[in-house]
Amino acid sequence: MSEHHGRHARQERQAEVSRRVFLRRSSELSFAAAVTITAGGALLNASEAWALDVKGLQPQTMKTLILIARDIYPHDKVADRFYAVAMKSHDEKAASDPATKAQLEALVAGLDAAAGKGGYAGLGWESQRVALLRTVSASPMFETIRSGLIVSLYNNPEVWPIFGYEGESYSKGGYIKRGFDDIDWI
């Protein structure tokens, strides 16, 4: 079973991706244009107001990985910053493990080459990008990314309200007075 990201580690990561109230993806620009790389090598989404320091990977690689994360588990209502948070652990691992860094860079380089001019992030249609992902989906690194996202994306309490999941219940007295049987349309 993929490892559980402890609450402490998750909070640390989220603190490094500065928060705004936006939950939805607000930018009208394509991901490629919405996320820029600063002079200091960080990723910046000005309209959603988050920034991400990139530690182990090339900033462009990390930017592409965030888009890959969205393409693996696309939710139009979920803002880029949640995918960025979800992928942070790969950058951290790349910072301390050269083999991981090499595998991630190679994965992205391969997809960029296959995409042609503009690279993977330059392909405008999701279906084009997903077609490329399918060519690498049997690889161990793809599976590592995919299975990691199950926890790093969906086990984020800030993501839960987007889907209507209310999370912890006991401290609020359960649902006996909070709508456990409030369905009104059947």
């Binding site: 079973m1 559980h4 609450r7 693996i72 588990y73 696309p74 939710h75 209502k77 999701e126 997903v130 989906s137 995919r146 199950i150 926890v151 994306l153 969906y154 086990n155 993501v159 839960w160 889907f163 209507g164 999941y165 209310e166 999370g167 912890e168 219940s169 006991y170 401290s171 007295g173 359960g174 649902y175 006996i176 909070r178 709508g179 456990f180 049987d181 409030d182 369905i183 349309w185 059947i186």
Partner: protein, 523 residues
């Protein structure tokens, strides 16, 4: 009265391995009869106030994560190769995690060989005990556990998820749909709260409303001064003397040091993967195939129930995660009716997962828009679990793997292939589950594959003839008089019903037998 502690050299005690539905109940029942008991539990002791309303954090706290391997064609082996089962390593065993569904087996399910006839590939066998013999004990178990809709106890109220199931059941003409026979207090009872519809049943009930040996049998047993529960005591091996009588167990304590507890009687209740593993790992020169294994059936006939789930998305909110997870059932398909194309039957029970676990289990390995549009429907989603009788097969079995655990002991490999009867039943059940939801206007339904097994049965089964199984009608091993099995590995058939009530029932009866055998000095 202070809790008992017994000397490790005290060979007058009954040693019970495991503190769940079987071990915890047996321990208390024996202690109430004045018999000294040491319960060795591999896991830690978390009190119910320690439970966590968070799926992954709770899994980390309670689930058995010691290594196991898997083999066979079942999908669990492909998607979760090291996690064949979602069960518990903690005081209280899987009664901390279970959903509370408490159904009696049906009469014919104790006689599957006679009733189903010969089914190629199925190692069917009649239990050496009948429903009639168990009925008084079922009644005592229901009373002990406070099962709703028995003994005058009212049913739990219906949640949104149940209301959808009921509306669909009514439209399809199903006749037996209600909020279940649940070992969850609908009213305060036995010094415990009533259900607050919290929706984290699988993560342990923080109100204590759901029955668990952790805060019922165990403290009651401890209060007699005759029962000691030792957590973080991982039994490695059962020892015997030259005559073949068991004499005690070797276990690893919380510091990883080997300890020995002597015993007059040993009862194995580690659930259906660890119990046969322990018997196999206890092989000796006198018993080269493992303890109690003259039949060769130790570890075999592993059953996990035909399971699967159906989730459905509607165009309006449901909030299925609110409320008692499994308080909803349709029983009509539980009958044995071969006109449907298979032997045995299945129950349809409400189920919900939180967002994190739904993402993990809805379609393991899947990605892309087909998957994410399903998840997008989360707050408009209803769900049910299909639990039915799977066929015992000799090749579905627990064996010792080449992999070793932290103590250098061979870990269990769980091999499973579906039987054709299981596949036919599951296919029918998926269709019927979807039909229930379609009848209420579902816009989309999903058949969900079986999860890592929460019901694990059959691997030390009861038999009349020692050739066919491991234990007799009292769970006493055929080969060794003072060695017993007290968990669901005793089951000769899986039935269509959730197993816990039957495990508790057998433990109550087994305690009487053990007490009698000890009194007459037969053991």
């Amino acid at each position: 009265m202070a809790a008992a502690t017994f000397n490790q050299n005290d060979d007058s005690v009954v040693v019970i391995i495991g503190s769940g539905a079987g071990g915890g109940t047996l321990g208390n029942e024996l202690a109430q009869k004045g018999i000294n008991v040491v319960v060795l539990e591999a896991g830690e002791r978390h009190e119910y106030t320690d439970f966590i309303n968070d799926e992954w954090a709770s899994f980390t706290q309670l689930a058995w994560k010691d290594p196991r391997t898997t083999s066979g064609s079942w999908r669990v082996s492909r998607n979760f190769p090291t996690l064949p089962a979602w069960i518990v390593k903690a005081v209280g065993g899987s009664t901390t995690h279970w959903a509370g569904a408490s159904l009696r087996f049906q009469e014919h399910e104790f006689r599957t060989a006679s009733v189903y006839g010969r089914i190629p590939g199925a190692n069917l066998l009649d239990w050496p005990v009948t429903l009639a013999e168990l009925e008084p004990y079922y009644a005592r178990a229901e009373e002990k556990m406070g099962v709703t809709r028995t003994g005058g106890r009212p049913g739990l109220p219906g949640s949104n998820n149940f209301k959808i199931m009921k509306a669909g059941a009514d439209k399809l003409g199903y006749k037996e749909c209600h909020t279940g026979n649940m070992a969850i207090n609908s009213l305060e009872r036995d010094g415990r709260n009533s259900c607050q519809q919290t929706g984290f049943c699988f993560q342990g009930c923080k109100w204590g409303a759901k029955w668990s040996t952790l805060y019922t049998e165990i403290p009651k047993g401890e209060a007699t001064g005759k029962m000691e529960v030792r957590p973080q005591s991982h039994v490695a091996r059962i020892e015997h003397d030259a005559s073949g009588k068991v004499t005690g167990v070797v276990y690893f304590d919380k510091d990883g040091k080997e300890q020995r507890q002597k015993a007059r009687v040993v009862a194995v209740a580690g659930n259906s993967i660890e119990s046969p593993r322990l018997l196999l790992n206890s092989a000796s020169s006198k018993f080269p195939d493992g303890l109690a294994n003259s039949s060769g059936q130790v570890g075999r006939n592993y059953m996990r129930h035909m399971t699967g789930s159906v989730y459905a998305v509607f165009d309006r909110p449901v909030h299925m995660y609110r409320g008692t997870t499994m308080a909803g059932i349709i029983r009509d398909e539980g009958r044995h009716d071969t006109s449907r194309g298979f032997a045995g039957g299945y129950e349809m029970e409400t189920l919900s997962l939180g967002l994190p676990f739904l993402a993990a289990f809805l379609d393991p390995g899947a990605w892309g828009r087909e998957f994410t549009t399903a998840i997008d429907g989360y707050s408009n989603m209803a769900g049910m679990w299909l639990v039915g009788e799977d066929m015992p097969q000799e090749t579905n079995r627990i064996t010792l793997s080449d992999v070793k655990d932290q103590y250098g002991l061979a870990v269990a490999d769980v091999h499973f292939d579906d039987h054709a009867n299981d596949i036919a039943m599951r296919s029918h059940a998926y269709k019927q589950g979807a039909a229930v939801y379609d009848a209420v206007g579902a816009t989309r339904t999903f058949p969900t594959p079986p999860y890592p097994s929460t019901h694990n049965l059959g691997t030390n089964r009861m038999s009349a003839n020692p050739r066919d199984g491991v234990v007799n009608k009292y769970g006493q091993t055929h080969d060794i008089k003072n060695l017993f099995v007290s968990d669901g590995s005793q089951f000769t058939s899986g039935g269509a019903e959730n197993p816990t009530l039957t495990i508790v029932t057998l433990a109550i009866r087994q305690a009487e037998y053990i007490a009698d055998q000890m009194k007459t000095k037969a053991i």
